[in-house]
């Protein structure tokens, strides 16, 4: 299995722990992620002009060299998917291609890494690599942009792929009605008070399920729920203390990796108790 790989900006900064776990886990599974050279930012949610954003994603997709393009980030994934759909329009494609050296041809299909695992690799194949079934309860949190507005591997409002992944690793997915509710990440910098209110709601409800951790698929969700958890605790005067981990880290733990090889020491909410429960060394 081989994909062109678009890491997105966060992998070089706030989501370095995600990157470490992706490299470890995908390497072990024999899935080749070939990083495209000279990739550019997708525009996230902060380049206000839609056509410009389509152009940014088109440029990235045009460099895929005949392979499908995998990405670890929900924001990047949604921008690539939206560009891929919008560029079906030939008039728009002509305008965008005038700006590109390497032309967009629509052949590279964007895929989130979760989709690569659950759909392309398949969960039965993944379970062959499970060395240590996880006897824990985990909250599946999909966020917004993994399934909305465009995706073709799961339901936009009631997705199940992450629940199934958790189950296949021996863990129990918690029933979580907030699994696609917004974490507030996109407005964190400009309206922190409101953003923390949204994160609080998610964290309180996640805690109430009695789970050992929350599992995420996006660097922005992770920033909100892990890095900003302390800010939520002090603003609302509550105790959460709930580890938030990437789905690739959860996979790595079940596949028998040392937690250090998965970037788990780089979280702001300590993961020691979770690791101890799984039976690993922190």
């Amino acid at each position: 299995m081989k994909y062109s790989y678009y890491p997105g900006c966060a992998q070089h900064g706030t989501a370095v722990d995600y990157r470490i776990s992706v490299e470890a886990v995908f390497g072990r599974l024999g899935i080749d992620l070939e990083e495209v050279k000279n990739w550019n930012c997708c525009g996230a949610l902060h380049v206000p002009d839609r056509t410009v954003k389509t152009g940014l994603s088109a440029r990235t997709l045009a460099s895929a060299k005949g392979l499908d393009m995998a990405t670890p980030c929900n924001l990047c994934y949604s921008n690539l998917m939206r560009a891929h759909a919008a560029l079906e329009d030939s008039a728009l494609r002509t305008i965008v291609n005038e700006a590109l050296t390497e032309k967009y041809d629509g052949n590279a299909k964007p895929k989130h890494l979760l989709e690569v695992i659950v759909k392309d690799l398949g969960l039965p194949k993944l379970t062959e690599h499970v060395k240590k079934p996880l006897k824990i309860k985990a909250v599946p949190y999909y966020g917004c942009l993994l399934t909305r507005p465009e995706n073709d591997f799961d339901s936009p409002q009631n997705p199940k792929s992450l629940d199934e992944l958790i189950l296949s690793l021996g863990a129990e997915p918690a029933k979580y009605y907030y699994k696609t509710k917004c974490c507030g990440g996109p407005i964190l910098i400009t309206d922190e008070e409101l953003a923390l209110g949204l994160a609080k709601e998610l964290l309180v409800m996640a805690k109430e399920t009695g789970a050992d951790c929350v599992v995420v698929t996006c660097p922005m969700c992770h920033l909100q729920l892990d890095a900003k958890q302390k800010a939520v605790e002090s603003k609302f005067n509550i105790k959460i203390d709930l580890p938030v981990i990437y789905f690739t880290q959860l996979m790595g733990l079940a596949m028998g990796f040392d937690p250090k090889e998965l970037g788990l020491s780089q979280h702001l909410v300590p993961t020691d108790k979770l690791i101890a429960k799984i039976g690993g060394r922190p």
Binding site: C9, A10, H12, G13, T14, A15, V16, D17, K37, N38, W39, N40, C41, G43, A44, L45, H46, V47, P48, D49, R50, T51, V52, T54, G55, L56, R59, A91, L92, I95, V96, A99, L100, T101, C144, L145, R148, P149, P156, Q157, T180, K181, C182, G184, G185, P186, I187, I189, T190, D191, L194, L198, A227, K228, K230, A231, Q266, H267, L268
Partner: protein
């Protein structure tokens, strides 16, 4: 925001037509005001006008009220409204469509400032480095200094590198950033 009664003079048919001819505009007139968008919105309680109200205001051409409301900037772009609208109206995409129009009209606020900083960083470097973004944004928003302890806690975990991530070659980006103007000219 103080809400004024709607008077016939508030209605701007040119603005209404401008929005209706965009890709998201074609279904705007089919809105039946059911409100599922506002009910699905995680932040509608903080908005000057809820998504449902905003769609109606676009139908009426209330340019000033629409473009100066906080609604289009508070929207977290979660697309919950868009996947639920029984008319297929896509209110999230409507907010996105209204942003460049508001900026062109000279509207400014924290979000516009951040989006401007973000776009400049991408145009120059091709990639978004968090430290560079936040430092540049802090120049326009001194209140960001309160985030210093948070920044330090991220640095302690090696998650906020001071180095700037750059593409090797950014020459196409200038042309891509002109695409917005270009696609509007062709309409």
């Amino acid at each position: 925001m103080k809400k004024e009664p709607i008077i016939p003079e508030s209605k701007d048919s040119a603005f209404r037509e401008q929005v209706l001819k965009t890709p998201v505009g074609e279904k705007i007139l089919t809105c039946m005001q059911c409100g599922i968008c506002s009910g699905s919105c995680p932040v509608s309680q903080e908005m000057d006008y809820s998504p449902r109200q905003l769609v109606r205001m676009v139908q009426l051409g209330l340019k000033k009220e629409v473009l100066s409301s906080n609604t289009i900037w508070i929207c977290t772009t979660c697309f919950s409204c868009s996947v639920r609208c029984p008319r297929g109206i896509h209110p999230t995409e409507l907010m996105e469509t209204l942003k460049p129009i508001a900026i062109a009209e000279g509207i400014t606020n924290r979000n516009v400032k951040f989006d401007t900083v973000f776009s400049d960083v991408i145009k120059t470097n091709g990639r978004a480095s968090e430290f560079l973004l936040i430092s540049k944004y802090s120049m326009t928003e001194p209140g960001m200094i309160k985030q210093l302890p948070f920044g330090l806690s991220m640095m302690a975990k090696r998650k906020l590198p001071l180095s700037v991530d750059r593409m090797e070659n950014t020459k196409e980006l200038g042309t891509i950033f002109k695409l917005g103007e270009k696609s509007r000219e062709k309409k």
